[in-house]
Subunit: 467 residues, 2 copies
């Protein structure tokens, strides 16, 4: 594990070497597979490693590239997928006893797009049961660990995705985010995690949890890598009824400008200093980050969002109603096969009335309008992602229904693009987080701000030492 370890290359770096034929996709894939073999027993990031398939894919990619058919920045790049992403012919088990041995016939749309882009699939990653079950110990899948300290929680539900990318067990991972499940593990594992705008990335072939709140997106080491991943997966998909046909810009081109002159950023201070108070370390890291962004030319102001409790209660009601609709039949027929956390969280949906859901949908629309109004004078807003760094494994449960919720779920409700990125480390060496939230379909601005911030700081140079 030296600085020269290819497992610590960013996608952009590896792509550059691969395109110049200075790095072999086979060599890179083998390095990841070796590292997975060495570390996964401690991290439980992967539930299934596709050793032979990955090597075969890498050889095919290498042959193509040698033959002059280079597909682009993801060609030959080894990635992994949360185990709720359907992979044709490869088990996709959703972290649940209920799906053991389930082998989909078709790829998820995103799986297919990433294959077309030339990525190598290393394997499938640990997920909370059905992306809702929490850090649980009563399913067939042991919970993933946080590479910065394996006694700590990586957060979820894309727990394996966060753990794997942070530990250098893949170059990028796909996660899903219904209430924060991409951004939370990104925050606690010190990564870039992007929840794109609702409708920007297809969810077809990804196990649903809540139709109107589910988002698919990447976890990567850098914001630039998130942009590369988004480019491959963004766009209209008739298989997802919520998919948008809004045009997809060239995200990486936007990153070229590392200055932020003229950009207006709003701080949603009430959210983390009054309503759900973040720890001192998180707040001082946040203030330092704001000064860095100001130094890069951004104009900083304050914005006042509606209370997080209003967003969160509305989102929870919708999520539980939609989640129960999906799981009702199985909950009745095989309740004993769910873990306790997933079963409890899903069953609550049985007691929600249609009229409550209708009112929640109306509140949702009002909150979307209020958020848009609060952001009328800024290009993006800033806040931390989570109020604390990662606690001990399983202690994430304390944040559910607590007085100090993290700051992600409002943007599932509004559907806005939101990026979590590493904002330094606490005294114990655990990552802190910064969140950037944009206007709908303006991932470009969010990525541009994140990339500029990342280049202006040192945080990307530190890698976890896995003990």
């Amino acid at each position: 594990m030296t600085a020269a370890d290819p497992c610590f290359l960013t996608i952009a770096e590896a792509a550059s070497l691969i395109s110049e034929k200075r790095l072999s996709p086979v060599e890179l894939t083998r390095a990841y597979l070796d590292r997975i073999e060495r570390l996964n027993g401690r991290l439980h990031a992967y539930v299934r490693v596709l050793h032979d398939e990955a090597l075969a894919g890498a050889r095919a990619a290498e042959a193509e590239i040698v033959a002059g058919h280079y597909r682009g920045a993801l060609h030959g790049i080894p990635i992994a997928l949360k185990d709720i992403y359907d992979t044709a012919g490869v088990p996709t088990e959703g972290g649940s006893r209920l799906c053991l041995g389930r082998v989909p016939a078709e790829d998820a749309t995103t799986t297919g797009l990433l294959k077309q882009a030339g990525t190598i699939l290393l394997g499938k990653l640990t997920t909370w049961e059905f992306a809702i079950g929490g850090t649980a110990f009563d399913t067939p899948f042991p919970p993933a660990r946080n590479p910065w300290n394996v006694e700590h929680d990586p957060a979820g539900s894309s727990s394996g995705s966060g753990s794997a990318v942070a530990a250098g067990l893949c170059a990028a991972a796909m996660g899903s985010d219904t209430g924060g499940s991409i951004r939370w593990p990104a925050a606690w594992c010190g990564l870039a995690g992007l929840k794109p705008t609702y409708g920007r990335v297809s969810r077809a072939g990804i196990m649903p949890l809540s139709f109107s709140l589910d988002h698919a997106g990447p976890l990567t080491w850098t914001v630039e890598d998130a942009a590369i991943m988004l480019q491959a997966i963004a766009g209209h998909d008739p298989r997802d009824p919520a998919s948008s046909d809004a045009a997809v810009p060239d995200y990486r081109a936007v990153l070229a400008r590392s200055e932020l002159k003229g950009l207006r950023l709003g701080i949603a201070r009430g959210m983390f200093e009054r309503d759900s108070v973040a720890s001192d370390e998180v707040r001082s890291a946040f203030d330092r980050a704001v000064e860095v962004l100001r130094g890069l030319g951004a104009t900083i102001s304050e914005v006042e969002l509606p209370p997080p409790a209003l967003y969160n209660a509305t989102a929870t009601l919708i999520a539980r109603g939609e989640g129960f609709a999906i799981h009702e039949k199985t909950l009745r027929e095989r309740p004993q096969d769910y873990g306790v956390l997933a079963r409890d969280r899903l069953t609550i949906g049985a007691y929600i009335r249609a009229s409550d859901l209708v009112q929640a949908m109306r509140r949702r629309r009002m909150l979307m309008d209020a958020t848009a109004a609060a952001m009328a004078e800024v290009d993006a807003i800033l806040l931390p992602t989570a109020p604390d760094p990662a606690p001990k494994l399983g202690e994430i449960a304390a944040y559910f229904g607590s007085e100090r919720p993290p700051y992600m779920r409002p943007f599932n409700l509004t559907g806005q693009p939101a990026l979590s990125l590493c904002n330094g480390f606490d005294g114990a060496g655990l990552p802190l987080s910064l969140q950037i939230v944009g206007h709908p379909f303006d991932e470009a601005t969010v990525l541009r701000v994140g990339h500029a911030y990342e280049r202006a700081t040192e945080w990307r140079r530190r890698r976890p030492e896995i003990a």
Copy 2:
């Protein structure tokens, strides 16, 4: 009541005379007011006549026109509004004891647009209680009667709108359509009734019944008049969250072509010959209409839609869930002030679970896709509006939950534009109906077909003799 009675002029005819200063808006308004005074006691079309306000408005319009400020085809035209449309300073009571004396401070958006267009508001029209209560006898408002035979039902919920326009008590009326409530009275009263595309016309300031199924639209004597009304009310309104900002075409310009060469029309025959069988008279009138349209140059084919029971069950569940959400508080606090029909229909919504509503929303999306697929090769589809002409007053109740539902509700679920127009008369002199359903936001084609059909037939020459 001679052929020269100005109350029997179409909007287009009256507008032409008014613009040439050959007809005075005051004289026209007075004629309507006189006729209302003579006939409303038998028809109960109006719940409130704005005698003095209408005359004052007519004088103001006349002064403007004489001064050379002619606003367009609706300037000086007397109209009326279903009593769920808010009118600033004028009671809007929704056909319910619960709203007696309710005086809104603001106009509905459509009310305001029609005022801006220069219309004269003659009064407010009978509605089923909260647009759902059926032809009921236990509210403070007697049910409206059908002008073609006052012993018969005008249909609803825009019952007063249908009755008033057919009887020559206004030049046009606004109705609302959650499950057919514009098209059904249009069908039974022999009128043109247009349910525009969901999102095309604002519902802000109109008492809601079901947020995702409610549509606002006009009832008129001719299709051309419907186009004139639609032109005034179509367009984006930030006050209605479902409002679309799709561009509004010049509808009347489209009507100029009375040939239909190149237009592809599909017959949804299964709907009214197999699933919900229409009467012999309705079916033979339909077949004659198809031949007329073929004669005008249209290409005719058959299309197969999903079973109406699937659309209707889905729409009913959504309507009841949304309706209960709106009325829950009042149903608890003042149940005795509802009529029995409205109370029963609304209360059912209390027993619908959120997960059922979620599944209904998913079925809705599938039915929208299936309908669009069935219509992929045609520009519009044809079917009757109702399986029978109007029965005796109150007997409309038999069509609720029956095996022979009318053919309207599927297009509330899909949100497509749908026009009902007069398709001749049965042996007893009661109107028969034809329905034209278009692709979303293609009201223009629907109106063009209806207008061409109307001009090719004699039906618009016959007026009811009110006994």
